[in-house]
Symmetry: C2
């Protein structure tokens, strides 16, 4: 099967109404707000101290230069995983504050900026970014190291706590940000800084005598290094990534040597880090969900690059474990907030889940990389599901507040009173001390075309249906549609200065259940393979109209998912629907539906936007309380169920909690 | 309304087949096993170090006596809440080990021994107990203090950590044990030691200048002191109890002064201790469930004694909050294992609950005390429910293993893999380091008649239907029946040497739904009040036959209990039934029942005992997996429910997990 790669982000013009709006939101709201956050200028949010730290490290570098051999570097003292100043608004100029991984906040921001500038030039923003890059680069040590926590707190303990201290995580994000900024602007200052840091790491790590036989506690460097290698053409970065992947989980376990702990504990903590056994032997998606899918993404990059069949098989197994045993219908992953982790297979509680926005984003990273290896719709279906549900639910319609945790069932009172649910928020939060989700959404949305389209020499793959104009092999291609609300897709092609033949590969989504029509291409010329329709782009100008039947339907989870038994969820195309208190009153758990009754489409205004809502006749259960009391007023003899007919309205899950605080629920019980 | 009090345990002869067996189990299995535990002679259980500590403290007292003024007492150093020796089988002779409250294990044991000896004399056991009492009394300091943790670790810090260090809890249990032993044997050595300790505490505590204005972190001393006052006739002990109750929660909050903690924390921790506001203002049952009901029991004692209407009203409110908002259908209380505590109203998860055996026992204490004030069946109904379900579930049929936590839904795999359920055990455990539940069951069962009957000058109250012979006011009364399996009760009366008229007050259980028949008493002579039938005992010998209709029925929780919506539980009389994997296969959550189909009675052999089981026709849901895949193999288009008819067998909840490890479930979904 031919592999593929994303299209150069500068060579695709997004016209899609849905995603353009999201992209504008990122550009106009999230990126500027995030910059204020990085500089501790948002009074209502916890200070980040991110740019503060770079500035402090920069001053240190300057002092070093001024003093020469008279310079005495700071001696490392452990300051905790998160360092807070006594007075949060008056931090000491030369101290490190925030989380040990706080540097990565800049990298995530610059990544989103890079993608944004690639498609929407903005002189002002670019100026701010260049200045920020100057500040960051000033912090880098002469030998290339760049993590302000250790630069400020003492370099003598660099790489001594790989498990928890995120230096290699910061490297990974720095690379991702630097590459995006380079691709978006052509400027390589940050890229060169990232390369120098990567060189420094490559020097220090390995199984050779005198090197550190370790690997990242929080994965991301793996996939970032492959990307750096592709962009720079430098094989050494790929080699470093391959080393990290190959070495992970090899006996003796590195993290256990680094952190000797009582018997019994080590395996568990290695499991959390996906470092319990070598990656090629891993069969089940385990541990911290974000780390896991970041690792799997790196593994997929390596499998694609090396063609290692054993590694590819491991990627396929881990994919299967993730999506067929541990994924919510919203594309959320991470069933438990304990360790923000995967739970055991089929344990998918709806009200205490974690389903972190970042984990779903990582799942999209993994999916796209698998698609690059093999264009099978199983990857794209999940990618689309996560995007339109568990990821976009992470950001408010106004772009100003965010969810970390994406529950499928919320009773606000329970989130306040029940300690097991206190990680679940009933309304989106302004910003977080650990700011991973908002910038992760920003960088994903700003680079959405990387996920919708991939290409190789002779084929253009349409994994998602993103309205866009682009040119390939001398053909002009224009894709229009109105996803996710409608299943129609129009592909206009025009042969301009044809270089070579071009094939289109358009995914047939599983949600259409093979019900679709194609006009403008001879049916006999369409080849169906792995859920994609392949056809040649006509030599003459053409208009190809594809209609994937998109109708509301009830979906049921595998019966092994105990939590969802007897319940169904309503979906329409890739969009999962939910009920909210604002439309249906409180005690949503007492609603039930008759799956035979027709689902009607309606429109609902949410934050000034008209969205497709769905309505269905159902019932509200009112338990008869006429039965005799049993032992206390809390229990009564069952005397049948009293039902009141009601109309139930559902809105897209991603839009919940945009109209104030209230109950929400994805799964609805079947009528009794 | 006339008050009442329990009958002298030595003056009632239990003939009840059900409870006699339980009592024999306590005498033959639990008490001897517990003694071995107290002496660290059970290799498979964690050592208790309880008698070890008393011996160590005794040696210290002896040295003090020998050395006189040359004796240097140990200086206190904090050793932790639980102190373990380096080698568990070779503890150092003079050190304290175990939990800070380890002394109370002896007290709980001697209490069960006292009750057991009261009804079943046993020369050997009494000899062992007397020797144990000698060891304990040798540990007491000259001034009466008796808590080995501080005696051994340094008396200079006595009463400096009332919140966590359980000295007053140990006092409470010591009193309960000493009173029971005195009542059971007439021997007062331990009683005098308890009085001396109480005197010591009375000297030190109070709001007067120079005294400690504190109160117990773990309540129990309150109710114990009222009991000590009743037995000894010494008003001072009641006064001390009243002080503890009145002072609790008064501003400034004592525990906050004792443990200054960051802002925000104090209230929460006081809430956990029911010390957030004065007790008369408390409206909701909150915090650690065992502590709460122990406090409420003391409050009820005080309300009865003083007639304080405000306090009685607080007791009624807290009762109502407990049983109508926070009680499982099994009589379990404590919805969350976080703090072993009450959750918010109607939050009663079935699979992550705590429902500690001790908490249900405390609820029985509270219920009996409220019954003493006002003979209303609401108290007795709950008392009976807790006894036959959530309490007896705590002990295995062979008396050799125990549950702390009594879940209503168990999937063994989840208890092993899901960190949120790891407190839930799918099989009873041999013994616990914190050994509260097993001895608590022992003392309750050994004194069961105290809960079944109370009396006052002219009335004998039958709250529970416990087969027994007794004499009152010159009448011989013989009660027989076969509860909880059948609802028949025969009361034979014989006027022997009548002193005064006698009224019987027999509870009409709510589970019979007012369906009952009475033979042998003229219907016109029966007065019904608050769920009790009152009638005079005939002057001539009589045989009164009462039949409470006991039939299986489905019970539903209030719809505010989100967890139980759409589900019902099967009960028969006070016995709650459950399904087990051994009878019904695994995946019990896929069973559903038609509440209209008849419930048939059958018999099932459990551990060699034939018990009444119930059988009902139902269905097993097999979700059709023929619908199209949705996004991943985990989700499919709903295509109706596939049901297989099946016969469902239910056994009494208290007997679950006596036939190996497997799934269990109390609530069953209604058929869809």
């Amino acid at each position: 099967m031919p592999m593929s790669h994303p299209i150069d982000i500068r060579k695709i013009h997004i016209t899609d109404p849905f995603w353009s709006k999201k992209r504008d939101l990122i550009r106009k709201e999230v990126i500027p707000y995030q910059w204020e956050i990085l500089n501790d200028r948002v009074p209502e949010a916890s200070p980040s101290y991110c740019m503060h730290n770079f500035r402090a490290a920069g001053r240190l570098a300057q002092r070093k230069q001024e003093l020469g051999s008279a310079f005495e570097p700071p001696k490392y003292t452990y300051r905790g995983f998160q360092v807070l100043p006594e007075d949060p608004r008056a931090p000491k100029e030369d101290e490190f504050y925030g989380f040990v991984f706080q540097d990565s906040d800049f990298s995530k921001w610059i990544e989103a900026v890079g993608y944004s500038l690639a498609t929407q030039p903005d002189v002002e923003l670019e100026k701010v970014a260049d200045e920020a890059i100057d500040i960051v680069c000033r912090a880098q040590t002469e030998d290339g190291y760049l993590d302000t926590y250790y630069i400020i707190n003492g370099m003598d303990k660099v790489f001594t706590n790989l498990r928890d201290h995120h230096e290699l995580y910061c490297l990974g994000h720095l690379i991702e940000g630097a590459v995006a900024y380079y691709e978006g602007t052509g400027k390589d200052k940050l890229l060169r800084a990232a390369m120098r840091f990567a060189d420094y790491v490559a020097e220090r790590f390995g199984t050779e005598e005198g090197k550190i036989p370790g690997y990242p506690g929080h994965e991301i460097a793996e996939m970032a290094l492959f990307r750096l290698s592709e962009v720079t053409g430098e094989e050494k970065y790929a080699k470093l990534a391959e080393y990290f992947i190959d070495q992970r989980g090899q006996a003796p376990l590195y993290f256990d040597k680094e952190h000797p702990t009582p018997k019994g504990e080590p395996y568990k903590i290695d499991y959390y880090h996906q470092a319990h056994i070598p990656v090629r032997q891993q069969k089940e998606a385990v541990g911290h969900a974000v780390r896991a899918v970041y690792l799997y993404s790196g593994m997929a990059d390596m499998a694609r690059k090396t063609g290692d069949p054993e590694l590819l098989e491991a990627c396929r197994r881990l994919w299967k474990s993730t999506v067929t045993e541990k994924m919510y219908i919203t594309g959320g992953i991470g069933g438990t907030h304990l360790g923000e982790a995967f739970s055991f297979p089929y344990d998918l509680p709806n009200d205490t889940d974690y389903a972190e926005t970042c984990a779903s984003i990582g799942l999209v990273f993994f999916a796209r990389r698998m698609l690059q290896i093999e264009a099978k719709r199983e990857y794209a279906d999940v990618m689309e599901l996560a995007l339109f549900n568990g990821i976009l639910s992470g950001i408010a319609m106004d772009g100003k507040s965010f969810f970390y945790v994406n529950p499928l069932e919320v009773i606000p009172e329970a989130c306040k009173l029940d300690e097991r649910k206190m990680h679940v928020k009933p309304v989106r939060q302004k910003w977080f001390g650990c700011a991973c989700c908002p910038p992760n959404i920003a960088r994903l949305v700003a680079s959405i075309s990387n996920y919708a389209y991939t290409e190789n020499d002779d084929t253009l793959f349409l994994h998602l249906y993103l309205g866009a104009d682009l040119k390939k092999n001398g053909y002009r291609i224009s894709v229009t549609g109105s996803f996710p609300e409608e299943g129609d897709l129009v592909i206009r092609t025009e042969a301009e200065d044809v270089v070579s033949d071009l094939k289109l590969a358009v995914r047939i989504p599983s949600w259409c259940e093979e019900q679709y029509s194609v006009e403008g291409v001879d049916a006999g010329k369409i080849e169906i393979r792995d859920g994609y329709m392949y056809f040649d782009v006509p030599k003459a100008s053409s208009e190809i109209r594809i209609r994937f039947t998109m109708q509301a339907k009830w979906v049921v989870a595998d019966r092994k998912v105990a939590e969802d038994r007897g319940q169904v969820a309503l979906v329409r195309g890739p969009v999962v629907y939910c009920v909210e208190e604002v439309d249906n009153g409180s005690e949503l758990g007492s609603l039930c539906i008759d799956p035979e009754s027709p689902v009607l489409e309606s429109r609902t205004d949410i934050e000034g936007v008209s969205v497709k809502s769905l309505e269905v006749d159902g019932y509200r259960i009112v338990s008869s309380e006429e039965g005799a009391e049993y032992a206390s007023g809390l229990y009564h003899t069952y005397q049948g169920v009293e039902k009141t007919p009601c109309r139930i309205k559902l809105i897209p899950y991603r839009l919940w909690a945009n109209r104030g605080e209230g109950e929400m629920r994805v799964y609805l019980p079947l009528m009794r």
